[in-house]
């Protein structure tokens, strides 16, 4: 029985990874993020440091130059980033978008892109799914890709395509067969890798969206944009499936970020509650201050268990749709609860930029909406886990 030792070894390299990430993040304090947030700048230096240290290539197999780890380890990296007060949202997609190429690409496609994605030479961190009219109803998306000889011609529009200006490649979901002609609801969509370095100005336009947080998010327009046919991933018309199995990884990783955020808020709140003296006593001596922090702590710990379970199932190759979704939902809500407690504990000072709370408060709010909103997760659980009638 080598089991216990294996587990111990696992725990040890996990701690080393966490330590290394913390040390890296220490070079990017609140001051750095406040400036980026104020000037709406991309945190290039931070992303470069993570790339150089190989953290963004955690999930890429060793044969392609990555570290061949699972979402348990990749998630720990993201959790530590958030826990350190940094924002992994700037680059988390570089970790997982490549999963679609890895799982559904041809050997040539993998050899062509994965090693360069692993080294950071190629950035694949733009994922164009959401459209202004279809919204969450992905199967109703209307961007089209029509085959024309050795390439496809793409027309349409995407919204909230984050990091498009800071990515070389984009993973695009477009319709290759009209919705009314497909046999199955989920057919007719296809996935493409778009080389934006070539497409920009040649049918591709990117427009930044000013948003509540500094997320480099954009809207993109396709006007007869050509994509070489060899950039089609998987089978034509079967793209939805290629995307869907990457979504569990995305949800589990983002759930880890929520846990990291929650831990950041709780530490910040606890420290301040111990330190701030009003009416001659630390405010943390009042149960009105203690209890919300304690409750948020309990929520984060519980969510963490769900996140770890989902990650372990994913890494074991088991179906984990419900677990991945629940982890993201519970994680994002627990992080928000911690954010609330932290905000209230700090009173007026929570509003001062230099405490970083208002920034993190805005940032962590996103994860109840993107990449999938809470209602849609509830609808999924109701229908697919509990067997209730489909509500939409």
């Amino acid at each position: 029985m080598t089991m216990p030792e294996d587990i111990a070894a696992e725990g040890q390299d996990m701690e080393q990874i966490r330590q290394a990430v913390r040390a890296l993040c220490a070079d990017f304090p609140g001051k750095y993020w406040r400036q980026k947030d104020r000037d709406r700048e991309y945190p290039t230096e931070f992303v470069t440091a993570l790339t150089k240290s190989g953290f963004l290539a955690a999930l890429i197999p060793e044969e392609y130059g990555g570290s061949g780890l699972g979402v348990t380890h990749a998630g720990a990296i993201l959790e530590e980033i958030q826990k350190s007060g940094c924002n992994g949202g700037a680059c988390h997609a570089q970790m997982y978008i490549m999963g679609t190429i890895l799982r559904h690409g041809s050997p040539e496609q993998k050899a062509r892109w994965l090693p360069k994605i692993a080294s950071g030479e190629l950035r694949l961190q733009a994922f164009a799914v959401t459209e202004p009219t279809s919204g969450t109803d992905t199967l109703s998306l209307s961007t089209t890709a029509e085959r024309d000889g050795d390439h496809y011609v793409v027309n349409g529009q995407k919204v909230w395509t984050s990091r498009a200006e800071h990515s070389d490649l984009m993973l695009l979901l477009a319709r290759t067969m009209p919705k009314d002609k497909v046999e199955k609801r989920t057919d007719g969509l296809s996935v493409f890798v778009v080389d934006m370095r070539k497409a920009l100005g040649n049918g591709l336009t990117i427009r930044p969206i000013r948003a509540m947080i500094n997320h480099s998010t954009t809207e993109v327009f396709f006007d007869n944009m050509k994509v070489p046919a060899e950039n089609l991933i998987g089978q034509e018309g079967k793209g939805f499936r290629c995307i869907i199995d990457g979504m569990n990884a995305e949800r589990i990783l983002i759930a880890h970020e929520c846990i990291g955020d929650g831990r950041w808020f709780i530490k910040k709140a606890t420290d301040y509650a111990n330190e701030r003296v009003v009416f001659g006593r630390p405010i943390g001596q009042n149960q009105g201050i203690q209890f919300p922090i304690a409750r948020a702590y309990a929520a984060i710990e519980a969510a963490d268990l769900m996140v770890k379970k989902a990650a372990a199932m994913f890494d074991a190759g088991q179906p984990c749709g419900p677990e991945a979704n629940m982890a993201k939902m519970i994680g994002s809500e627990a992080a928000w609860q911690a954010a609330e407690a932290c905000m209230q504990t700090h009173g007026g000072f929570a509003f001062a930029e230099e405490y970083d709370i208002e920034r993190k408060f805005r940032e962590t709010r996103l994860y109840q909406i993107a990449p999938i909103s809470t209602n849609l997760i509830l609808a999924y659980i109701a229908e697919h886990v509990l067997g209730l009638p489909r509500s939409y």
């Binding site: 080393q16 990874i17 330590q19 953290f55």
Partner: protein
């Protein structure tokens, strides 16, 4: 050139240490432990020397309980080539560590040994000096700069009056000061590679070293709590207060 670097597992510098209720030492249960920061600087220096082509092999040594293996792994992830763990659950005082290191040096025959100038737990600042003494080697302590040339080491030392540069004949013992370098964090590929590097496990008995403590700890206490001060109006009041307190 072969380099030996010593790494000690200590309470993490961020931890607020607490004295055990029975006053025999500080609380170590459930406390975060890390590599002694001065040793981290030592490993960094070693790795830089290797990257520069001056050093061919780096051996990281730690002594203490099984968990010291984690400290060695950290050194391996930073760039050391292999590790030696001298495993013991007994207390190890500087002299015992120096004797064990001497035995390892005689076996490994490194050209240079780097240690931290002190460990942040007991702040002894003795091991490097004792090791040099036992080996009869030259020593360059509190190094803020280190340059190796054929058969010699030039060490810039931080001393009270400023900086002093000494030239040592190799083999030599060097201890690191804070400003020698800024240690790197391990990259993910190097953490993964470190898992495959070897760590030899030994015991003090393997080296025939008697590690029995020579010093006895009588009592460990918290430093006295600082109480609030008072404001004085002028120099005269200050002097009278100081008199009252029996300070002058």
């Amino acid at each position: 050139m072969k380099l030996l670097v010593a790494v000690k597992r200590v309470v993490d510098f961020n931890v607020k240490v607490r004295v055990k209720a029975d006053q025999t030492g500080v609380e170590l249960a459930n406390v975060k432990m890390s590599m002694n920061p001065f040793d981290e600087i030592g490993v960094e220096e070693a790795v830089r020397l290797k990257e520069a082509g001056t050093v061919d092999e780096i051996v990281a040594v730690s002594m203490g309980p099984q968990q010291c293996q984690e400290t060695i792994r950290t050194a391996l992830a930073m760039g050391a080539d292999r590790g030696i763990l001298v495993k013991t659950d007994d207390e190890l005082q500087p002299l015992a560590v120096a004797k064990l290191l001497k035995a390892i040096v005689e076996e490994e025959k490194p050209d240079i040994v780097i240690l931290g100038k002190q460990a942040i737990d007991d702040d002894s600042n003795q091991t490097g000096q004792m090791l040099a003494g036992l080996l009869g080697w030259s020593q360059g302590t509190f190094a803020s700069k280190l340059a190796l040339t054929d058969g010699e080491a030039e060490v810039t030392r931080e001393i009270d009056g400023g900086l002093e540069t000494v030239k040592l004949k190799l083999p030599a013992v060097v201890t690191t000061d804070l400003r020698l370098n800024e240690p790197r964090y391990a990259s993910l590929p190097n953490i993964m590679k470190a898992k495959k590097k070897t760590i030899d496990e030994k015991s003090p008995a393997d080296y025939g070293v008697d590690t029995a403590p020579r010093l006895k700890t009588l009592k460990v206490e918290e430093p006295p709590k600082r109480s609030a001060g008072i404001k004085v109006a002028d120099a005269a009041e200050l002097v009278s207060k100081l008199r009252e307190e029996g300070v002058i």
